[in-house]
């Protein structure tokens, strides 16, 4: 058939051209996608370089100091207790909400995700303003356990919801009582979610700075900050930073390995029924009271304390200080301004990476994306110090500039943006774009009429999460903000750490309000998953 052969021949040159143009576009895309991972590697390399500057011998000497041992013991003790508390609270609350006939389950489920929206240093300010006796280990445990138990609750609850009820039913017909069934069938299947959640708890506890500084509990972060503030940031500080970084990346690595074998293969795809719910019977009121009590501790008391101090005059606090409305407005505007600029930069860096990683799976893209996720294990304090040391040695003019602060935000929150953008792009499969092209749309029209409408809500959610994170960020802001630039977080920290509780209250209230309202809207629209900000698969 000669008619068929002719167009086939004519097709060849044009296809070659397309491939060449495709390669150029792809090359640019890969280059753009490399920026974020390189930025993430920069502070890691700088920290390593600083600590190793004097060679391996002096580093080992620094690491052998009793201070390192004391900090390790302090941190390990707190992390163990926090993980245990979070595991018990997280699994217990998830079980009550997902598997029993507890009244008001929906309200309790929404409340259980809320503590994630309140930064722990705000909570610690609230407890401290109630009584100075919350200083030290007990207060630190209270603050981080109540702040982070949702990190266990959310994945465990999702895992309970996703569990095939047929497994529990099979176990029951094989003669297991409900309790034995929980121990032998449910708990083993919860293990991946539980372990993943507990590692996140450990990671967050390791990187937390503000809460521990306010509560005068000594960990690596507070020690590094103190050394930096006293101008004593030599090799000792770098060694501490290195230990902290290794611990954090260790948690991240463990989580990554765990996630590799995380999902027990769900066997079969059967039509799913709703899971069994156990009847609480006579003990029902007891459980309701316990849950109400838990929420009073996690949310009620901190919020009530903030409201209480809002109504007090400055003299009522230990350190009398008045609130200047101009300062509050200035700090709010700064937080919002930095939040918007930082979000824009973060999204700009994360978009090409996430697009590449979702549309072209391969070792290169997977490696780039994982490098981006390393930032999850980057304590703000280590990042800030590393960036300071890098710019002072190379472009000193950037030191204490807005630009450097924005770069720090972008590095810190690139993982958050990646998770959000990825789930948005999954909504807009490339298959749909192809269908559009086959219906005669140009690539731009396909982008405008198919990809954008599908991905836009998810991208908006990702940007909103990054914005909340930046607007409430304390550590890097404290170290990197230009002199005279105060944000809500730094003002709260300054007033809180000098025990001027009434003066701190407006900042705490505005931050909490922004954070809770925005998180609530997000959770209502997208569920709690974005709050966990975890890499999928």
């Amino acid at each position: 058939m000669p008619e068929a052969a002719a167009p086939h021949e004519a097709l060849r040159p044009s296809r070659g051209g397309l491939v060449a143009r495709g390669r150029l576009v792809q090359g640019l895309q890969v280059a753009a996608a490399c920026v974020a991972p390189l930025l993430v590697l920069l502070p890691i390399g700088a920290t390593l370089g600083q600590a190793m500057a004097g060679g391996i011998g002096p580093l080992l000497h620094e690491l052998a100091r009793p201070l390192v041992g004391a900090l390790l013991a302090n941190t390990a003790g707190l992390i163990e207790s926090t993980m245990a508390c979070c595991a018990i609270l997280g699994v217990g609350v998830a079980w009550l909400i997902e598997r029993t006939d507890l009244p008001g389950r929906r309200v309790f489920a929404a409340l259980a995700a809320c503590p994630l929206a309140v930064p722990p240093f705000v909570t610690s300010y609230a407890w401290l303003s109630m009584s100075p006796s919350f200083e030290g280990f007990g207060g630190a445990l209270l603050v981080v356990a109540t702040a982070y138990y949702p990190l266990v609750y959310l994945p465990v609850a999702a895992s309970l919801r996703g569990m095939d009820p047929a497994l529990e039913e099979s176990a029951r017909t094989l003669g297991l009582s409900p309790f034995t069934c929980f121990r032998r069938v449910v708990l083993p299947q919860l293990r991946p979610a539980l372990m993943g959640g507990m590692l996140l708890v450990a990671l967050n506890t390791l990187t937390e700075f503000g809460a521990f500084a306010l509560l005068r509990f000594r960990t690596f972060t507070t020690e590094i900050y103190a050394a930096y503030r006293t101008g004593f940031s030599g090799p000792e500080t770098a060694a501490l930073g290195l230990v902290l970084l290794v611990l954090c990346l260790g948690c991240l690595g463990a989580d990554f390995i765990l996630r590799g074998r995380r999902h027990y293969a769900r066997i079969g795809r059967g039509a799913k029924r709703a899971a069994l719910r156990y009847e609480l019977g006579l003990s029902k009121p007891v459980w309701v009271v316990l849950l109400v009590g838990l929420n009073a501790v996690t949310l009620g008391v901190p919020l009530a304390m903030i409201v209480f101090w809002l109504t007090q005059r400055g003299a009522a606090a230990i350190t009398p200080a008045e609130v200047a409305p101009a300062r509050v407005i200035g700090a709010t505007l700064n937080s919002i301004g930095l939040g918007i600029a930082g979000t824009a930069l973060t999204m700009l860096l994360a978009l090409p990476l996430a697009t590449l990683a979702t549309r072209h799976r391969g070792w290169l893209t997977a490696g780039l994306e994982r490098t981006g996720f390393l930032a999850q294990g980057m304590p703000g304090i280590v990042l800030a110090l590393a960036l300071v040391s890098v710019v002072i040695g190379t472009v000193p003019v950037l030191y204490q500039s807005d630009a450097l602060l924005l770069v720090a935000y972008a590095i810190l929150f690139v993982p958050l943006a990646l998770v959000g953008i990825r789930s948005a792009l999954v909504q807009a499969e490339s298959r749909l774009e192809e269908a559009g092209r086959s219906l005669g749309l140009t690539w731009f029209a396909a982008l405008r009429r198919i990809t954008w409408p599908l991905a836009a809500p998810g991208l908006g959610a990702a940007a909103a999460l990054v914005f909340i994170a930046i607007a409430t960020e304390l550590t890097s802001t404290l170290l990197l903000a230009p002199i005279g630039t105060e944000t809500l977080a730094t003002e709260l920290w300054a007033n809180g750490s000098t025990l001027a509780f009434a003066a701190a209250a407006p900042y705490a209230a505005i931050m909490t309000a922004i954070s809770i309202v925005a998180s609530w809207v997000l959770v209502q629209r997208y569920g709690a998953a974005p709050l966990l900000a975890r890499q999928e698969g």
């Binding site: 039913e169 003669g175 009582s177 769900r266 066997i267 079969g268 059967g270 069994l276």
Partner: protein, 372 residues
């Protein structure tokens, strides 16, 4: 002693009756198939027997022991029934061997021969014992699920559509392996299915559940040959239904004069003929009905020929034939019916056909079953 006794069982969800007075007695070993379309309540029946749902009215006794009645609910783990779920529901965190031993007491789990025996019983190789379940195919998973259910030696095993998720090739093998294993241990099986051929080929008896009621419990042969009403006839295999007039043991209809095997009577009836009873003859054969071929669907081993019956306005019938010498569409053919047919009385007004069985062969008119 009956293995399973069910009396007047009722269950509704959100005021919608799912089971509405089900009675079923199962005596001795063998497999009873509960056949029903989706939404007929068959899975609910199984879950009530297993103890995952509470009964509203009625009673369930297993091995002579009352396990469920209003105000009485024996927990699932104390009923001693095996349950094989639709997708096997193997525990993903345990090996095949640990899955099989799951329901045994700790001291019984230590015996090494138990896993080997049970793998043998369901026809799986011994090397599967240490494997994780996801490495097995769907059919193999179902066999492990059966081995797990049989391990505590239950007298009664409930099977909830265990073959529906398998592809056709695996289904046959798995069915045979399951039937054989149940026979070998002498357990009674209750198999719930929506697949007529599965129910007919596997069940020693078939109970048909329709809109929450059992409409007929019979051997597969009896069920296929003498379904109690026209709706059931259409549900169990294909049925050709032709209006006619009965006079005792014969009836006249568009297909000629036919012998009534079940449901003789007088007056207007609906006659049920299976497509494989219909034979095609040369059109000029004396005394036979005639029709025009509308279409032929070829299946390989046989074929179905659609025929418009001559002399009637819109009666199309289907004939299932060997796939040799098939007629062409448009051809005129002669039609003959082999064997007896089943008659269902039609209300004189021509309203919907009665749901009630119209009696056994040899009875008069609308004689109730017990009077025959």
């Amino acid at each position: 002693m009956a293995t399973l006794q069910i009396e007047g069982l009722c269950k509704s969800f959100r005021d919608v009756a799912v089971l509405d007075g089900v009675d079923l007695d199962v005596v001795g070993g063998g497999l009873v198939a509960v056949l029903g379309a989706s939404g007929s309540g068959k899975t609910t029946l199984l879950r009530l027997i297993a103890g995952f749902e509470r009964v509203e009215r009625g009673r369930i006794a297993i091995g002579g022991q009352l396990v469920a009645a209003p105000g009485l609910h024996v927990a699932p783990e104390r009923r001693g029934v095996g349950y094989v779920m639709q997708e096997g529901a193997l525990f993903p965190h345990l090996s095949v061997a640990d899955n099989i031993l799951f329901g045994l007491a700790p001291h019984a789990r230590r015996g090494s021969g138990r896993v080997a025996d049970l793998l043998d019983l369901v026809g799986l190789p011994q090397r599967y014992a240490p494997w994780q379940p996801h490495r097995l195919s769907g059919g193999e998973q179902q066999r492990v699920a059966l081995a797990r259910a049989l391990a505590p030696a239950p007298k009664l095993v409930l099977l909830d559509e265990p073959f529906s998720a398998l592809d056709a090739a695996l289904r046959g093998d798995t069915r045979r392996a399951v039937a054989q294993a149940l026979r070998a241990v002498g357990a009674t099986g209750i198999l719930v299915t929506h697949d007529q051929s599965e129910a007919l080929s596997m069940g020693a008896k078939v109970a048909v559940l329709r809109r929450g009621r059992l409409v007929q419990v019979a051997t597969p042969m009896e069920l296929y040959r003498h379904p109690v009403d026209a709706e059931l006839a259409r549900f169990i295999g294909e049925a050709v239904l032709v209006p006619g007039t009965a006079a005792g043991h014969v009836a006249r209809c568009g297909l000629g004069t036919l012998v009534i095997g079940a449901g003789p009577g007088e007056g207007p009836v609906e006659l049920m003929v299976r497509p494989e009873q219909i034979r095609l003859l040369p059109p000029d054969t004396a005394g036979c009905a005639q029709g025009q071929v509308l279409g032929v669907t070829f299946y390989g081993h046989d074929a179905v020929v659609e025929i418009a019956l001559a002399g009637t306005a819109d009666t199309a019938i289907a004939a299932r034939l060997f796939s040799r010498n098939l007629p062409e569409p448009g051809e005129t053919v002669g039609i003959a019916v082999q064997g007896a047919v089943v008659a269902y009385p039609v209300a004189p007004s021509g309203a919907a056909p009665s749901q009630e069985p119209c009696g056994d062969p040899g009875g008069e008119k609308l004689v109730p079953r017990e009077c025959a």
